[in-house]
């Protein structure tokens, strides 16, 4: 299986005219092929900066990112975005002017990897897998928030990316929809295993989904703690109250709270 992601000494400095802002500092992170890595950290700490560098939307100031040994980003240079690493964005990025089916099928067609007929057929199969085959000809605006997220994940998977980059994909959903979406994601990933880089604010979500949970410090983001989650997969929501889950949660929540508090104080000072 492909998709081994390696991040070495990643640093990012935003050179605003007045003050330099260090967003990332000496991040070393290895994500094995097929591993689900959940990143938790306070708001604005630099999680999305790292994701953008992996995706090819932004460069690093120092350090290297490689995917299966091939360079994705090094100092001030990055490989352009392509289908090997697909992002599911925080606020969603389904094209509202096209149908659900077009949204899902467009990737392979634009890459000339599949014909329109093949792509549509594959898109229908994937949509059926998340129970949305009847919505194929609707516009995204006619779907619920949870349905849109499902379409978006399916749109990412049809491109057979090596890495799936998820930037707080379930943030805007209510708690119930969120737990259903997590189970959909788990199910899809057992069907098509992928390396996943998953950003979240929600520690429970990170432990529930992740093979590994990485806690980022407040800005500049460094790796504060990295824990391998040894709860066997597939996991169901019952484990949220299991002793092992609570033990891991207790182990991580102290660090997260401390970082959140630091980020908050810094934010207060910057505003004052």
């Amino acid at each position: 299986m492909q998709g081994a992601l390696s991040i070495r000494g990643a640093r990012k400095v935003y050179d605003a005219k007045t003050a330099k802002v260090v967003a990332l500092d000496s991040i070393d992170l290895d994500i094995a092929a097929g591993e689900f890595c959940a990143v938790v950290g306070p708001s604005g700490c630099g999680k999305t900066t790292l994701l953008n560098a992996i995706a090819g939307f932004d460069t690093l100031s120092r350090g290297d990112i490689t995917l299966d040994g091939q360079s994705l980003a090094s100092a001030n240079a990055s490989a352009p975005p392509d289908a090997s690493r697909i992002v599911v964005f925080q606020n969603g990025a389904l094209f509202p002017w096209r149908t659900v089916l077009w949204n899902v099928a467009c990737g392979p067609i634009m890459q000339r990897r599949l014909t329109a007929v093949q792509a549509n057929q594959q898109a229908m199969e994937l949509l059926a897998r998340v129970g949305l085959q009847d919505s194929a000809n609707k516009f995204p605006g006619e779907l619920s928030g949870g349905q849109r997220r499902r379409v978006e994940i399916v749109r990412a998977l049809i491109n057979e990316p090596k890495v799936l980059l998820l930037d707080e994909p379930f943030r805007a959903l209510d708690a119930l929809t969120k737990s259903v979406m997590q189970e959909y994601l788990i199910e899809l990933l057992t069907y098509v295993p992928k390396t996943v880089f998953f950003i979240t604010h929600d520690l429970e979500e990170a432990i529930f989904l992740g093979d590994k949970v990485v806690v980022f410090s407040s800005r500049p983001a460094r790796i504060r703690q990295s824990v391998t989650i040894d709860i066997p997969k597939p996991r169901r929501h019952e484990i949220l109250t299991s002793p092992r889950f609570l033990e891991i949660k207790a182990m991580l929540s102290g660090a997260i709270h401390e970082e959140a508090l630091r980020a908050f104080t810094v934010g207060e000072r910057e505003l004052a």
């Binding site: 289908a83 964005f89 990025a93 096209r98 634009m110 890459q111 995204p140 491109n159």
Partner: protein, 276 residues
């Protein structure tokens, strides 16, 4: 027996829903209220006139306007004027879209062109199109061409600025998502930038259609030899005041209908947009 059943059915129907004329009234309630208000205003005008209010007594009575419009509707000259004005509107409006939309896209996507063309646009835009009429008459070989140019100008700035604005406010994530999905520059323009801008373009079309009617009337009054604006001014010069008012109402109605048509077209072009 059969009679009874039919009777029961009939009464049941009546109880379930209002009778047909009543239903019609309910469905068109706001239209009815609006029409009634207009009718009442007309009546007030008719009966206030003999009271000797200043100004009002110099205007013709609504009944005289109705009579004048009946007369005008039978004259080929009136229809000729409607036809000419409509033709000018369509030409000027379409030209503005054909020139303004692509130019807007080019300006919004190319920094060099934007930096050189935008100052020119910004220095010409504040000049009201009506102020262009004399120069337009001198510049263009025919009166027809200069009238169409004025109509074009009225719509052009709005179309141009709306297109530029639409392109430059596209959510960055759509572009990024498309690039990840493997889209080329051509794909990006066709599948992302163009459709994402379309709702703003449609808004520009609706607004500019209104401006087009203002411009055609002004241009015809000053430079025309046909058209509704010309007819309106001629009627004024021969003191046919009722006819002036008929022309005014016709122009108002035409403006309303053409804006409605553009709105309809906009809904067809952007079927994903929620209806307001």
């Amino acid at each position: 027996m059969a009679f009874e059943i039919a009777n029961i059915d009939g009464s049941a129907d009546n109880a379930a829903e209002p009778s047909r004329p009543r239903k019609f009234l309910l469905r068109h309630a706001s239209f009815m209220v609006g029409s009634l208000t207009i009718l009442l205003l007309g009546l007030a005008w008719e009966f206030a006139r003999p009271l000797g209010l200043p100004g009002l007594s110099r205007l013709p009575a609504p009944t005289a306007i109705v009579a004048a419009s009946a007369e005008l509707l039978h004259s080929p000259m009136f229809w000729e004027a409607c036809y000419k004005s409509t033709l000018r509107i369509i030409s000027g409006f379409c030209l503005a879209q054909i020139v303004g939309i692509p130019l807007g896209f080019i300006m919004a996507t190319n920094r060099t062109i934007f930096n050189s063309a935008f100052p020119v646009a910004e220095s010409l835009r504040p000049i009201p199109p009506v102020a262009w009429i004399p120069i337009s008459i001198i510049f263009w070989p025919t009166r027809e061409a200069s009238t169409i140019f004025i109509v074009f100008l009225g719509a052009f700035w709005i179309v141009l600025l709306n297109t530029i604005g639409g392109v430059s406010t596209i959510d960055q994530t759509y572009r990024r998502a498309a690039l990840s999905l493997g889209s080329s520059r051509g794909h990006l323009l066709r599948y992302i930038i163009f459709p994402a801008t379309l709702p703003t373009i449609v808004t520009g079309m609706v607004i500019s259609m209104g401006i087009c009617w203002e411009m055609v009337v002004a241009a015809e009054m000053i430079a025309g030899d046909t058209g509704l604006g010309y007819l309106l001014w001629q009627s004024f010069e021969i003191s046919a005041t009722a006819q002036v008012l008929v022309c005014m109402f016709t122009i108002g109605l035409a403006g309303f209908l053409s804006s409605a048509a553009i709105r309809k077209l906009g809904r067809l072009l952007t079927p994903w947009s929620p209806n307001e």
